[in-house]
Symmetry: C2
Subunit: 256 residues, 2 copies
């Protein structure tokens, strides 16, 4: 069941008492997408409840005092909501480790190395990405170079691991945690012009990885086409924040 | 063995091959202190190597590409260094879970709640704390209120838990992760005047907790007096960054 874009003045959703998890999300939010990917990768059934982040429902602050998505409610633990995308992803990994394949390495040292890379993606890639995309006053000097240098770390790492995915033969935690922004790389055309694309020689491994990831079952559940990402970005730049772009397509595949 | 304040032009330290962990640190860094607390709480022997962060040794970037402390080297895993204070703390918790008492709850849901609180401390307390302390242009409006509101969350949480520590009858992960800034609260006198102190009624639980924490064996290993914290802060404000204030006291208790 997908509940669409609840906003100010709305009532909290009435959901069946069916033991499913409840994920509070926003269709275009890459942080929320991390949790969709985790739940879909582990085939855990859940209700997705989409929140209008410009006009937040009053009741939502009881779910997450910070008013942000993602947030997760667990059956039997009503009244306490978990939030923060990485904490949620780690929670899902730990709470469902017995039934499902593990996404982190079992060895604590290798797990810590993966977590460091996920943290580094934040500063080295996500940060310059947004500085390029949301610059109002021209692209900040150095941001494009910084973005490339950030991706170099991951290109080099994937090459060193010698496997198709960061997680090995199948996507693991790093793959899913960095995916939402990799899905959105072509959005940079919006700021940098239509000719912008990742250098095929410099980012050969990553581009191959991206093609593989697009075919992953979990990724296919939440992937959005660059065209639709661009529509949303445009609405955001106009100050409209049109969260409904995909609402009517909810049952249709999202990637045309 | 404690190696003091290695700086630009220095050689990497030569340490005995004794199977001990190597923690790269800086005496006054609260993030590095988190890892000292973890290692001391779990009674894991280690070498502390102190880095001059204003004049970083060239070789240090091979240890941590970000050039920051803390960083940790594990015997048998030479050449790969772990970093990021929370990743390191979680690593120590997981890698030494068999021999030592656990600092996180075993239940993944309760563990996630603790991790959320640690994340919230970052935005709700640490962030306004630094804005007050390092304001050059008068205290930013709202920062003092925000700092108090941030601490309210932890006061309320400790009351709700009804235990002396966040971790229960003994300090747990939250206690150690938030401690370094709680140790430094009185430093705010530096910015707010000598009369500044936490309201005894509003923060009764936290103040009681602070007294207990000061007596904890792990805390006693790394605690620094407000007087010495202030000396360092003054040197930082003067642009001197005197990392050596405690170097000669290394073997002496740090809290006068």
């Amino acid at each position: 069941m997908q509940l669409d874009d609840l906003e100010k003045g709305s009532s909290p959703p009435e959901l069946p008492n069916d033991g499913k998890l409840r994920l509070y999300s926003m269709r275009f939010c890459p942080y929320a997408q991390r949790v969709h990917l985790m739940l879909d990768a582990k085939k855990i059934p859940y209700h997705a409840i989409y929140i209008n982040l410009s006009e937040k429902p009053e009741w939502y602050f009881e779910k997450n005092p910070l008013g942000k998505v993602p947030a997760l409610e667990i059956p039997g633990k009503e009244g306490v909501t978990l939030y923060e995308s990485l904490v949620l992803s780690d929670y899902i990994e730990e709470a469902y480790s017995a039934q499902q394949r593990k996404l982190y390495p079992t060895d604590p040292f290798r797990k810590a190395q993966d977590r460091i890379l996920i943290e580094r993606f934040n500063g080295a890639v996500i940060s310059p990405y947004y500085r390029i995309l949301f610059s109002t006053d021209g692209i900040p000097p150095g941001a494009i170079t910084e973005f490339g240098t950030g991706l170099d770390i991951f290109e080099k790492e994937l090459k060193a691991r010698g496997t198709p995915y960061f997680g090995g033969d199948k996507p693991g935690m790093i793959d899913y945690m960095i995916w939402p922004w990799c899905e959105r790389v072509d959005l940079l055309k919006f700021a940098l012009g239509d000719k912008y694309e990742l250098d095929k020689d410099r980012f050969g491994q990553l581009l191959q990885w991206r093609e593989l990831m697009e075919k992953d079952d979990a990724v296919k559940q939440s992937i959005i086409s660059t065209e639709n990402h661009t529509k949303f970005l445009q609405s955001r730049k106009n100050g409209e924040n049109n969260y409904d772009i995909l609402a009517n397509d909810a049952k249709k595949p999202r990637l045309e």
